[in-house]
């Protein structure tokens, strides 16, 4: 083969990202008849966080890389639009809304901001949805979060969100979260269930989980624009299709993985609470001021927000129409 694409993600081989990459590699290598080889480097072998790895994408030393929205926020702050709470109802809506115009809008913005170096290929999922979980009590209404110390990453948006809901944001590095929960440095966290279980947080006292689904755990897949554009057009088509396959794999994988995780959580004595539609509305209402904050304070926030809103509206319409056809 003539071309080697070097792909990396900072997670490990148990992660959805790896499932996606394996599918990508398999598709691209066979569909290109071996013209393209894909090398997968999981973890921090090449680079260890969003800023570092996107640097590698920008200068072409890495071809493909996955970040969460937090990981890319340092260069493309508007990608955090997917961290905004309660904008998308469920997986079906998200999976219809993300591809197409929304992805294209973000891709164009990112290409422009990176001087045509960093190209968004697709948006998948990594770990389902974020929920509030804590060591103290069952959370049914926003008032239950009052004053609770919630762990966030070091980024404005999640901190602002936690503040908006009346809780107290506490930035703690991921590897230290276990001991911080154990010793009461923080009382709660906002994570997907698979991360909660793989980090054994219940052993640190994390007992109460409210399935509010306040944010989609999006995975942004980036590629070096130079590497991509250097491919002949037919191979570009293969790569694009490969990312489609990758996206579908990462949509599916967390759903399958979370089943066991939820069962384990409950078996460990965890309290799993599903808020009623009214309670969910109360959360959405309490969080609403964050939308304006986002549009005002985040560069490109306005454009990204309306792109997402339009895409969600269109997706809901399509889904409803399709559902009507299917049930009658």
């Amino acid at each position: 083969q003539d071309i080697t694409l070097r792909a990396t993600a900072n997670s490990n081989e148990n992660d959805e990202d790896y499932d996606g990459l394996v599918v990508f590699k398999n598709y691209v290598e066979s569909a290109s008849n071996g013209a393209i080889a894909v090398e997968i480097y999981m973890g921090t072998q090449l680079c260890s966080n969003g800023a570092e790895c996107l640097q590698g994408i920008a200068d072409g030393s890495i071809d493909i890389y996955q970040t969460t929205s937090g990981g890319a926020a340092g260069i493309f702050p508007y990608v955090q639009v997917l961290d905004l709470p309660y904008l998308m109802k469920d997986d079906r809506t998200a999976e219809a809304a993300l591809p197409g115009t929304f992805t294209k809008t973000i891709r164009d913005m990112a290409l422009e901001d990176s001087g045509d170096k960093i190209r968004l290929m697709t948006i998948g999922n990594t770990g389902g949805w974020r929920n509030f979980a804590n060591t103290q009590k069952r959370v049914q209404t926003p008032a239950d979060l009052d004053g609770m110390k919630i762990r966030t990453v070091v980024a404005d948006l999640p901190q602002e969100l936690v503040t908006t809901l009346g809780a107290s944001p506490t930035p703690i590095p991921w590897p230290e979260l276990f001991t911080s929960l154990q010793t009461g440095v923080v009382e709660g966290t906002k994570n997907g269930i698979t991360d909660i279980m793989s980090m054994k947080f219940p052993d640190a006292g994390l007992k109460y989980l409210t399935l509010d689904g306040h944010a989609y755990m999006a995975a942004y897949w980036w590629m070096s624009n130079d590497s991509f554009m250097a491919l002949p057009e037919d191979l570009r088509r293969v790569v694009v299709d490969g990312f489609y396959a990758l996206q579908q794999a990462t949509f599916a994988s967390p759903k399958r993985k979370s089943i066991q995780a939820y069962e384990d959580f409950v078996a460990n004595g965890g309290d799993l609470y599903v808020p009623t539609p009214e309670e969910k509305d109360a959360f959405a209402e309490a969080a609403a001021p964050i939308y304006d904050w986002f549009k005002e304070n985040v560069d490109g926030g306005e454009a990204a927000f309306s792109a997402l809103q339009d895409a969600v509206a269109k997706a809901e319409e399509d889904i409803n129409a399709m559902r009507d056809q299917e049930i009658n």
Partner: protein
């Protein structure tokens, strides 16, 4: 020829002594501020029960600059670890030629570092720091996030200073091979080093 080299070496010697003194002093300030930043972080988290977003990144920023500013002085004092058995085992002249060769390899590495370091700094203008802002809010403007290029510059500056030191060491080494190094001040020596 030897005389010209000796003059250049003398100039570099004076330049390095001063620049490195400034670098080391700034590095001492940086390590002090690092301690302060982390203590502030602990204080806010435990005593005031509200964590601050910036101390961790600020302390890393300072540590990078501490490294870039202090390492060249340490290099000049011979504090970079190496296995120096061979140089001592060889006859004096041959040993001097070997150490000249080693310095040239080091110079090549530093040249490479400067070339890629410059690109690295340039690329840093694209990226914002995640928590460090210029507090322009104080003068009525919007706070602006600091570009990572300001952090990236730390090592680039360090490598530039290392390269100048390395050139001085090469000149000294050439003069030593020629047997004309008696006109130079001896290099300062670092007493105790090492993490061990």
């Amino acid at each position: 020829m030897g005389l010209i080299l000796l003059r250049v070496a003398n100039v570099l010697q004076r330049l390095n002594t001063r620049v490195l003194w400034i670098g080391t002093s700034l590095a001492a300030v940086a390590i002090t501020l690092m301690v302060v930043a982390i203590l502030v972080q602990v204080f806010f988290r435990y005593v005031l029960n509200s964590a601050l977003p910036w101390p961790e990144e600020a302390a890393r920023f300072l540590m990078l600059w501490m490294t870039g500013l202090a390492a060249p002085a340490a290099y000049r004092r011979g504090a970079f670890v190496s296995i120096d058995l061979l140089e001592f085992a060889l006859p004096r002249r041959v040993g001097a030629v070997l150490s000249l060769l080693l310095l040239l390899i080091a110079l090549a590495v530093l040249g490479m570092a400067l070339q890629f370091g410059w690109k690295h700094v340039q690329s840093g203008w694209l990226f914002n720091s995640s928590s460090l802002k210029l507090p322009l809010g104080l003068i009525g403007m919007k706070a602006v996030k600091i570009k990572l290029a300001w952090m990236y510059m730390s090592l680039f500056v360090g490598f530039a200073m290392l390269a100048v030191v390395n050139i001085e060491l090469i000149l000294r080494s050439v003069l030593k091979v020629m047997g004309r190094d008696e006109g130079l001040d001896p290099l300062p020596v670092m007493t105790i080093a090492e993490a061990e």
